[in-house]
Amino acid sequence: MSTLDWIIFIVAAIVFVITGLSILYNMAKGGHHKTNLTDKFVWGINTQIFYALSSFGTGLMVVMSAIILLVGTEFLYSILQAGNSIAFACVLSGVIQMGIDLGKPQRAMKVLFGKKFNSPLTIDFIALTVLMILSIIFIVGMGSASLAALKIWAYLTTLISVLCMSTHTLLIASRFEPGFRSNPFHSAETFVCSIWSGLAIMTLLSLGNPLTEVFVKMLLVFSAASLIKGISSVIALNLGKSEIHTHKKAFILLSAITFIILVIGDLAAIRQGGLVIVACLLTLAAVIVEKGASVIVVQKRPVIPAPYNKFDPKERYVPSKTEIGYLLFSIALIAVIPYGVFLIGFGA
């Protein structure tokens, strides 16, 4: 570990501890509910970030599984371990974000005993728990595992990760308008964005490695897929006379810029460096914006149709300081866990 690594770890740990303590203080003082959420905006920025982080985590796990299945242990184990610890941190942090949004987080375990397997939340709860267990197994027990064991891990991880992606579509699907006004591309967007963001993180982690070129090309393909899915959903919304919000336009713009950067890089044979890093960061930003469109913008639309909603108050959602505090907490957690894993030495 270099001095810079230590500085990042210590700063992140301090942010994590301070925001964590302030959250605990807030909860003790005023309960769990000091948010700007209303009956119209029932899920806010914490749920948006839950979707984004779980998208990063599940995408990363699918990419890791693909690497294991394609090239086996030839790929550097330390990169896989770094990817896995980041995926674990993303999923854990996302789960905490979701848990914070619950009115009664202390009752969360009731989800397991409700036996409501038709509920997307139940499936999500189980799938994310299994995914974290698989991730912990990789962190502590896959260093000297055989190729067969790694492959079994990859099969299971792919299945569970894709299940998570599906349930994240289902969680919001119940809010979509019926029939012609719905967005038929939402599921595809969720899936593509997940893999796309996973590839972006893996590309960042593997910079300098010979396999980076493969990731960059995959990133190009998935940025094209995201761009086309985004455009398709705009066309679908236009056909249904639904409003196209800024989030959607921003997502398409970011996808287009990423695609163009990667095409230029490919034509100029640039496989490493600043251009690739910019493309990866834009990818992550695009996915966060897409989750904003999926979670927050969807709730802007009136539930009761016209003309009955004519006098409904026009509400806006602006996250409260507490919600932003939760966000800082989760970001710090993502920095703390992977560094912690490397400090302990699992990635060696």
Partner: protein, 200 residues
């Protein structure tokens, strides 16, 4: 037996007595109203009319809120009324996302009606079963119904716009009126099969 309600919008005068009766019956905390009445306009200027649409919980036969509830806190009772068990609710708000009638509300805080004043002993007693951090909704005045009474909103309606009764009994007043008036549920195309019918 399946209880249902018929609301004749031709008779509704928008007095909000149902909303007040509901609040009095349940002593719902501030910002919580089980029986909302939506205002809307019909016609074009200068020939415009203000109309009202009372929106209690629709107590659907196929409630989307119950499907998405992960803990089973939302249940459909034998008499067709959809209830929430506050002791089982985790406050995930998935039901609020799923409900197409905005019938559910999140109880984030129980505060007094007037700033600087305490809750009255009546409010403290009546609100003892409310749990902060859970989702609340119209319970169809299930306690009254079990005693053979009508829901508070029905009993209080000054124009008799609301009729309550057994939808399974073809000879009940509500069934006969639905059949004769062509009453329909609100947004029936969603397939949730609401038990509240409207005469528009």
């Amino acid at each position: 037996m399946k209880f249902g309600m018929l609301i004749d919008l031709r008779k509704c005068v928008g007095c909000f007595a149902c909303t007040v009766a509901c609040k009095a019956e349940h002593a719902t905390p501030t910002d919580i109203s089980y029986n909302k009445v939506k205002k809307y306009e019909v016609g074009t200027y200068p020939s415009v009319k203000l109309k009202h649409l009372p929106m209690p919980c629709m107590h659907c036969d196929n409630p989307s809120c119950m499907e998405v509830c992960p803990t089973g806190a939302t249940q459909k009772q034998d008499n067709g009324i959809v209830t929430v068990d506050a002791n089982e609710c985790i406050g995930c708000k998935a039901c609020m996302i799923a409900c197409p009638y905005e019938s559910r509300q999140f109880l984030s805080e129980i505060k007094p009606y007037y700033e600087g004043q305490e809750r009255t002993p009546f409010e403290v007693y009546m609100q003892k079963d409310f749990q902060v951090g859970t989702v609340v909704k119209c319970d169809g005045c299930i306690d009254r119904v079990r005693e053979g009474l009508e829901p508070a909103c029905v009993q209080t309606c000054i124009t008799g716009a609301r009729i309550f009764g057994d939808l399974d009994d073809p000879n009940s007043e509500i069934s006969r009126l639905i059949a004769s008036s062509g009453a329909v549920p609100f947004q029936r195309e969603l397939g949730t099969e609401p038990s509240v019918y409207y005469i528009f």
